[in-house]
């Protein structure tokens, strides 16, 4: 099951992703988190340190190849495979793969082709994969997220956030990307605005998976640099995401 989380930057995408990882990793299943947003801070939210990203692996291979350091009998697929495995951050609860910076100058068609295959194989070993995607819509048009089962689009109450969410929905349709389910999550909501916003959202045709109310605890964690994965189980945001998750996972039975 692949769940992707997208939305405009700063809407709380990473909080939703890290909480999903937290909740799913308590199920005893194998969970892989993928940080596919070069601007995101998913590793910080999950409380882990990153040594090496997929971007670093790509650069390393390019450099070694150009310098003639790779013996002719060695196979680059296998080398990449090893290096990608090495870049996976493993914890008892979940594993994390960080995509890192996008490619530099030069062409990466061949290397990217190999990487895509390798990451697909790697991912097939996990029960749940949570992808924190780029804030923009590029990942949709580049079809990097085309085999996603559930797409969760996060928005804050801002007009632009809702507009972006709407555009993601439209683009997914245009590109004929068949998510099994596409949901909207309304984050950082003030109770007094709820009615208004729900009316506004009903007009854009995205199904609302749930709302997360503005919570001082999150700003507190952010200010102190505490990993969001450590939000208490009984805190409101975690309860809200749990509700969203069970709705998302049970959509078949609805």
């Amino acid at each position: 099951m692949i769940i992707a989380v997208s939305g405009k930057g700063g809407t709380g995408k990473t909080m939703v992703s890290s909480t999903l990882v937290k909740l799913l990793s308590t199920t005893g299943k194998d969970v892989l988190a993928i940080d596919a947003d070069p601007d995101s801070n998913l590793p910080e939210a999950l409380g882990v340190l990153v040594d090496k990203t997929v971007g670093d692996v790509r650069e390393e291979l390019k450099k070694d190849t150009a310098a003639g350091n790779i013996p002719p009998g060695a196979n680059k697929w296998d080398i990449l495979d090893y290096k990608i495995m090495e870049s996976v951050i493993e914890t008892p609860e979940f594993d994390l793969l960080v995509m890192g910076r996008p490619e530099g100058s030069g062409c990466y068609c061949a290397v990217n082709n190999m990487l895509r295959k390798i990451i697909e194989t790697l991912s097939s070993n996990y029960d749940y994969i949570i992808i924190d995607t780029e804030a923009g819509l590029e990942h949709l048009s580049r079809r990097t997220t085309h085999n996603v089962d559930i797409m969760l689009v996060v928005t804050d109450p801002s007009h632009r956030g809702i507009l972006t969410a709407d555009r993601i929905g439209e683009l997914a349709q245009e590109l004929e990307i068949n998510f099994k389910k596409l949901y909207l999550i309304l984050n950082r909501l003030k109770r007094e605005d709820e009615e208004d916003l729900k009316r506004k959202i009903s007009q854009i045709g995205l199904e609302l998976a749930g709302v997360i109310y503005e919570d001082p605890l999150i700003s507190e964690f952010d200010m102190a640099g505490k990993p969001l994965i450590n939000l208490p189980d009984d805190s409101d945001p975690v309860i809200a995401v749990r509700r969203i998750l069970s709705k998302a996972l049970n959509f078949n039975e609805e």
């Binding site: 002719p72 697929w77 493993e90 914890t91 030069g106």
Partner: protein, 465 residues
């Protein structure tokens, strides 16, 4: 066949990864040492299985152990040259064993055993047994096989020495592998998403021009994914060995470029050079004034002696176009003994960036090393001319020859032409453009192409529209 192996053995477990959370022990890998080796021997006791060092039952949860797989094979038709190919299969066959993860090859292997496998009663001797059975099944030419697994540090260390020595010997042989030694080349269409008429021809002497994949990588890829973007091209008839023209390569490029290109010389920048996607690590470009070739790579930020930087040049010859006088290439190709052999190889190269020259220096013929200027020696065509004259670059011979030839021609053609030239030279003019090939827009179904054109003008006016 696998009845005494306590876990499943099947190709369906290929690609299995074991998370550290589900792992019993790690073998070799980034935190330890390891190696694997297949050797053809004269006397092998068939079916012999040995584990030297601790078995899984003597290890503890979370341990990391050194690890080596030593396979000896014997068979009437087995040759030393096949060791590498057979050894490559260890990775795949180990992964058939459920609960055993195996990554990479040689002295860079990384293995894990799952807790689940251990609980099922799996031991390293079972791995050795499975390999012994699988290898004989995959390669009927193996008559006898013995598998030894090492987990003892000292044993693995001394085995590693032996293995490294073998890898070095094998690599030396692989470097010697040339276009003549193989029956298949490979075509690669990975870049067709943005260069739809481009196909890379990959041969032992010419890596793909992005530098990312060589002949061996292609062989592995074509085997893994026969319907994928990398495929075999039977070598077929040699039309010109020097230029690197092959009938089947021409057919393949015609088919995969939708007829845009139907001939290609893989070892020349002239006439029908290899097309370029845009991925190339470097571009070789003809410098008509001196009848030599310049090379510039992606990392060089300055201007080439043609007055344009790499990026502008890349724009001219990318996208699957065949542009005479330009060809994209990889740095690895510059280490090939067939590097632009039809054009004279390094004997024809008259300019390249310093950093690039340093990285390929030891692959250049010794007598050429001081004769090729870099941006530190020359940045214009005149400066190159001075440098190569001073250093007796062999390209001067070519210029002399062609001058003598054209002098002869002039005599034959008598006076009118000479008058013309005098007239032309009396007007001060500046070069506007120089290109090995220029197509002019023309009407009436006629296309005008200038080859090796130099256009001079008395005055150039640039106007904003």
């Amino acid at each position: 066949m696998f009845e005494d192996i306590p876990v499943d053995v099947s190709p369906m477990y290929e690609g299995e990864r074991i998370r550290s959370a589900n792992m019993f022990v790690e073998l070799a890998g980034p935190k330890s040492i390891g190696a694997e080796l297949v050797q053809v021997e004269d006397d092998v006791e068939d079916g012999k299985i040995q584990v030297i060092g601790p078995e899984l039952t003597e290890m503890n949860q979370g341990d990391i152990f050194p690890f080596a797989i030593n396979i000896q094979i014997q068979g009437e038709k087995l040759e030393k040259e096949l060791e590498g190919v057979i050894e490559r299969r260890i990775h795949e066959l180990c992964n058939y064993v459920k609960g055993f993860m195996h990554l990479n090859q040689r002295d860079q292997i990384w293995c894990r055993v799952s807790t689940e496998a251990l609980e099922a009663g799996f031991k390293l001797e079972h791995l050795a047994k499975s390999l012994s059975i699988l290898f004989k099944e995959e390669f009927p030419i193996i008559e006898n096989i013995a598998v030894t697994i090492l987990t003892n540090k000292e044993e693995v260390e001394s085995f590693l020495e032996l293995a490294k020595d073998q890898y070095t010997k094998r690599d030396a042989r692989a470097r010697e592998l040339s276009d003549e030694d193989v029956d298949v080349f490979y075509g690669c269409l990975m870049c067709q998403s943005f260069a739809p008429s481009h196909m890379c021809v990959v041969t032992p002497d010419r890596t793909a021009l992005c530098g990312a994949i060589n002949w061996f990588d292609c062989r592995a890829a074509a085997k893994m994914d026969p319907d994928g973007p990398i495929f075999e091209i039977e070598k077929g008839d040699v039309i010109d060995a020097e230029k690197g023209e092959y009938s089947t390569v021409n057919e393949a490029i015609a088919e995969h470029s939708q007829g845009t290109t139907d001939r290609v010389y893989i070892h020349s920048v002239f006439e029908y050079p290899h097309t370029s996607c845009g991925c190339f690590e470097a571009v070789a470009f003809y410098i008509p004034e001196l009848d030599g070739i310049g090379i510039v790579d992606r990392d060089f930020r300055g201007e080439t002696p043609l007055g344009i930087p790499f990026s502008a040049m890349a724009g001219q010859c990318s996208g699957g176009k065949q542009v005479e006088g330009f060809t994209g290439l990889s740095l690895e190709y510059m280490r090939s003994p067939k590097f632009l052999q039809a054009d004279g190889g390094y004997g024809r190269v008259i300019w390249m960036p310093k950093a690039m020259k340093d990285s390929v220096l030891k692959f250049m013929p010794e007598e050429m090393r001081d004769k090729i200027p870099t941006e530190e020696d020359a940045t214009t065509i005149n400066e190159i001319k001075d440098f190569i004259t001073k250093h007796q670059h062999p390209v001067l011979e070519l210029i002399k020859e062609s001058e003598t030839e054209s002098a002869k021609e002039d005599i034959e053609k008598e006076t009118p032409r000479e008058t013309e030239e005098t007239e032309y030279e009396s007007i001060p003019s500046i070069p506007v453009t120089m290109a090995p090939e220029i197509s002019m827009p023309a009407a009436g179904g006629v296309k005008i192409i200038f080859k090796n054109a130099k256009i001079y003008a008395e005055k150039v006016i640039i106007k904003r529209k």
